[in-house]
């Protein structure tokens, strides 16, 4: 059964949406949060477990110092205060994947608190961008749960399954949970801001190098809270919490859907149930999960098995020194360095190609050439094949090499495309592919001149037009020359030669 929804614009004419996000980031530390087990994605089930992460009687946790450092670095990048003394707490609840039946997390003493993240969105005017500030309430450390596998049903869900298996490889992998304060004032741009917030946060985490940030593998997981209040009122409405929305596009859609759904209920005189909701990627709707009160009774208390975390001020300052250039600032700098227009830069960002272009330029590519390949052919293919652009056999070094071959005059554009095909197909480096396929512009002026002469002689009518000053007609002759030389001619040179012969 699908809930009633009303038109989004209509909803926003009446209601003011307030959002909140809880983003879980899985850290890429070598070992788990509280034990020495390896953190490997996709390993044989239960192959990376020990008494500690299995919660066996008597086993005790020990905090992973690297994870604490990652949390501090993220907190600093978010402009947070870093607690000089904080503790872990036990969050007591039952969950089939959770070996101890409590989660070791942080409660009223998070390691990072009171920060903000500036999110850039296209300006309402349509020109340039504007900045929307999202206030961060806290970022705290915790451990991940295991994973259930439901066997025997048609859908892989628990409903209809004959039995369930649990893989504890993920149990105990370090997480940082970043919680926003209520995001007010987003208005009809709420879904867009939602997406931009998660994307900006993801970029920041990636720049810090503390996570693989693979949303599709669950290393970044987002819960989206949405509530509505009548425009002009202050009191927050009842919220829903849509769990595990795991792509940027879905976040935008899920927020949009929740606004339309809640507005339909409120318009009908109903009230919103405070509950968790599940997002369905295929149908684009959310459905009810479990009711959730404001004070779920997790019976938090300080984790007595762990000593408090008290990062020294010197350590915090040392970590501050390791922060990368903020992604937004870096984008501005690179755009200026590379001489891209706003539009070009936006394409680059949308293609997720900034780092690749940066590395390509560092490897010797021209900024224009690097942009052309990454946001052109590679982005197109990635889109068609549903891949990320860095998943092909194409490295920044190869792009630099390819760009060099074009700029050096060995390849023309269409030949370069063929070379790229070969690289993607794993035939080797651009030079190797060009060599193997015999792709090389005819450099021999004699051969080019002979071809030009032949084409002019065979197309006297067109040649006459050019002689009469209709230079555009030369294009047809160039085409013929290319054909004559099986595409391996330098078109610019051919044009030069034709014009010289006919008008010179």
């Amino acid at each position: 059964m699908t809930d009633a929804v009303i038109d989004y614009d209509e909803a926003l004419a009446t209601y003011d949406p307030v959002m909140g996000f809880e983003v879980h980031v899985e850290l890429n530390t070598d070992t788990k949060m509280f034990c020495g087990c390896a953190t490997v994605f996709g390993a044989e089930p239960n192959s990376h477990v020990c008494p500690v992460c299995l919660g066996l009687p008597g086993a005790l946790p020990v905090v992973n110092g690297k994870a604490v450092e990652s949390a501090i670095r993220l907190g600093l990048a978010l402009g947070c205060d870093i607690a000089s003394w904080c503790r872990f707490a036990r969050k007591n609840y039952f969950y089939p994947d959770m070996p101890k039946n409590f989660q070791t997390s942080q409660y009223d003493e998070p390691i990072c608190f009171d920060g903000h993240l500036d999110v850039e969105i296209p300006a309402a005017s349509g020109e340039g961008t504007e900045t929307f500030r999202v206030e961060i309430e806290r970022a705290h450390m915790e451990e991940d749960t295991g994973k259930s596998l439901h066997v025997g049903g048609a859908t892989g869900r628990i409903q209809g399954a004959e039995y369930s298996l649990v893989d504890f490889n993920r149990a105990g992998i370090p997480l940082i949970e970043i919680v926003t304060k209520p995001i007010e004032g987003a208005g009809d741009r709420a879904p867009e801001i939602a997406k931009a917030y998660v994307a900006t946060l993801r970029d920041l985490v990636k720049a810090l190098g503390i996570s693989d940030v693979k949303m599709e593998q669950g290393s970044v997981r987002c819960d989206a809270n949405v509530s509505l209040r009548p425009i002009g009122t202050e009191k927050l409405g009842t919220r829903t919490e849509t769990k595990n929305v795991n792509s940027l596009r879905s976040i935008e859609r899920a927020v949009r859907y929740e606004i339309s759904r809640q507005a339909a209920i409120l318009d009908g005189g109903g009230s919103i149930t405070q509950e968790t909701r599940h997002w369905h990627e295929d149908t684009g709707v959310t459905t009810a999960g479990r009711p959730k009160s404001d004070a779920d009774d997790y019976r938090y208390f300080p984790e007595p098995d762990l000593v408090p975390v008290a990062p020294a001020a010197e350590l915090v300052e040392e970590l501050r020194g390791t922060l990368p250039e903020p992604p937004a600032q870096r984008r501005k700098r690179l755009q200026s360095d590379w001489g891209y227009s706003d539009l070009e830069m936006r394409d680059v960002i949308n293609a997720g190609a900034i780092d690749l272009i940066d590395e390509s330029v560092a490897a010797g590519a021209t900024p224009a050439g690097a942009r052309k390949w990454w946001t052109g052919e590679l982005a197109r293919r990635a889109n068609v094949e549903g891949k990320a652009i860095d998943e092909f056999n194409v490295t920044p070094a190869y792009v630099a090499e390819l760009d060099g071959l074009v700029k050096g005059g060995r390849l023309n554009d269409s030949m370069a495309r063929q070379v790229l095909e070969g690289v993607i197909d794993g035939e080797g480096s651009p030079t190797q592919v060009a060599d193997a396929r015999g792709l090389e512009l005819v450099q021999d002026d004699g051969a080019l001149e002979a071809a030009v002469d032949k084409v002019i002689a065979a197309n006297e009518a067109i040649a006459a037009k050019v002689r009469d000053g209709k230079l555009n007609a030369a294009g047809a002759l160039i085409g013929q020359v290319m054909k004559e030389l099986k595409g391996q001619a330098d078109a610019a040179k051919a044009r030069e030669l034709i014009l010289a012969k006919l008008t010179g």
Binding site: P57, G58, L60, N101, D297, Y300
Partner: protein, 505 residues
């Protein structure tokens, strides 16, 4: 023939070192003693004769090969069933862990193995260490070797009884609110709770993580010190363990000098409301210390009287969380609910907990769950933590004036089996003198200081030292032990009645 079961660990170690005997011989003597008397005492839940003899053989071979061995190499030991032992069933006295064979050793157990100490078996205890009488074991009570109709104390009654009944020269106990010291008191043995964090908790099935502490159960102060040195020290697997060397306890136990020392007698826990014979023995013991050159100062610790209440909030709160993992899904007992064809996981869990947890465990889990629940946290757990801070302050203030504090260990001698079983509050009151040390994390020791006039049963003398100053316990205890031996001409346990059994028959 030499009776190795009557020797202290230090004496056995000397006999082994001199080549007078072998670990196999000594271990076998204790296994025989267990076979003779444990039917009456029930100190052991598991006896691992094969494992103990194999370890004994290995240490004998090592000695023969001239290897450098530790002070207690070859001396057998019993281990409370709350410590995980690889390959050996570990139940914490609970049905819910019946059949659980840990895939790993507790750090204390690893250290015993590394020290070449054969592990005789696992000793009985109150379920999950909840109790002061070992009557709450799911596998039946342990009996006091002084009088089988009486309790051996708890929760580590099995460990204390094994040592008192000469079934083991040494045992490991754990003390959350007095579970090493109170059994020591009622069985005439020496029980030590080191400073919190002085011995690793890794692999000790948690009752209350912030209070639990493993320690030695022995028949002499020197034995306690020798064992303390084996099991103590920092452990990277336990972040609450102290990163410092083990205090010089053996040296202190050998010296036993209290001249010039200030002994603090705590007002309020110095005998008021205690059994008259217990109080009398306490006063006599204090006098013996004075005779040896110590001076006595009376100190006030006003928060101590609130310790019991705070303890009975903090301990069940932590226990309720620690015990949540026993869900019938991964190890231990699993019981299907009756009359349900295909039960849900929750139904199986409920049925298993109903069958697998005893009344005392259920009582404390419910109490702890309630104390932590929303709206009650501040009133209960939060207040209890404040009391804990006050108690620590009382200790700190007292130790500015005195070197150690002393009290009777338990208010009474061993009571009769069943006597307090229906009265949890009466049972809890047994720990009134021992609990403050756990709340503050300071070390404590109980040594036998005589037989109470009215019932002829052992009484205990408790010494409490500042955190990390464990050596002071041994210094004072060794002095008192020496004074008492002079008085009696022998250790108090020499007066224990002979136990029925093959050896006696």
């Amino acid at each position: 023939m030499t009776d190795y079961t009557r020797m202290t660990a230090a004496e056995i170690a000397a006999a082994l070192a001199s080549g007078d005997t072998t670990s196999v011989e000594v271990t076998q003597a204790h296994l025989d003693r267990i076979a003779d008397v444990d039917g009456d005492i029930h100190a052991f839940l598991q006896v691992d004769a094969e494992g103990a003899l194999a370890a004994a053989k290995a240490v004998d071979d090592a000695r023969a090969a001239g290897e450098q061995l530790g002070a207690l190499a070859g001396v057998p030991i019993a281990v409370k069933d709350i410590l995980a032992t690889k390959g050996l069933e570990t139940t914490a006295g609970s049905k819910i862990l019946e059949g659980w064979i840990p895939p790993y050793d507790a750090t204390v157990v690893s250290k015993l193995r590394a020290a070449g100490m054969p592990i005789l078996g696992k000793t009985n205890m109150d379920e999950f260490a909840m109790g002061s009488s070992t009557e709450h074991s799911a596998y039946g009570p342990t009996r006091n070797p002084w009088d089988p109709e009486r309790i051996p104390g708890g929760s580590g009654g099995g460990s204390a009884a094994a040592v008192a009944a000469f079934e083991a020269p040494l045992a490991i106990g754990t003390d959350t609110g007095g579970s090493i010291r109170q059994p020591a008191s009622v069985t005439g043995t020496v029980g030590t709770k080191p400073t919190y964090g002085g011995v690793s908790r890794y692999g000790i099935i948690a009752l209350a993580s912030s209070l639990d502490q493993a320690g030695p159960c022995t028949r002499s102060v020197l034995d306690a010190a020798l064992l303390h040195e084996v099991i103590g020290g920092h452990d990277v697997m336990d972040s609450t363990s102290i990163d410092a060397p083990v205090p010089p306890v053996v040296e202190a136990a050998r010296r036993g000098d209290v001249s010039g020392m200030k002994i603090g007698v705590i007002k309020g826990i110095s005998g008021e409301g205690f059994q008259p014979g217990v109080k009398q023995l306490f006063d006599e013991s204090v006098q013996l210390l004075v005779d040896r050159g110590a001076s006595v100062v009376e100190v006030e610790c006003p928060s101590f009287e609130k310790g019991l209440a705070a303890y009975y909030l903090i301990m069940p709160s932590e226990a309720s969380s620690n015990l949540a993992r026993y869900d019938a899904m991964r190890y231990g007992l699993r019981v299907g609910p009756e009359g349900v064809d295909s039960p849900s996981a929750e139904q199986v869990m409920a049925a298993t907990r109903e069958a697998g947890f005893g009344d005392e465990v259920k009582r404390r889990v419910i109490l702890g769950t309630y104390a932590l629940s929303a709206g009650y946290y501040d009133a209960y757990y939060g207040q209890a933590q404040k009391v804990r801070t006050l108690i620590a302050r009382d200790f700190a203030a007292a130790y500015e004036k005195v070197d150690v504090l002393v009290t009777p260990t338990a208010p009474t001698t061993a009571f009769k089996l069943g006597e307090k079983l229906d009265d949890p509050m009466a049972m809890y009151l047994n720990d009134v003198a021992t609990i403050p040390a756990n709340l503050a994390g300071v070390p404590g020791m109980s040594i036998p200081n005589g037989l109470a006039a009215e019932d002829g049963l052992p009484s205990g003398f408790q010494i409490l030292a500042p955190a990390t100053k464990d050596e002071r316990l041994y210094e004072v205890a060794a002095a008192l032990e020496a004074a008492l031996h002079d008085k009696w001409g022998a250790p108090i346990l020499a007066q224990a009645p002979a136990l029925a059994g093959k050896a006696a028959g």
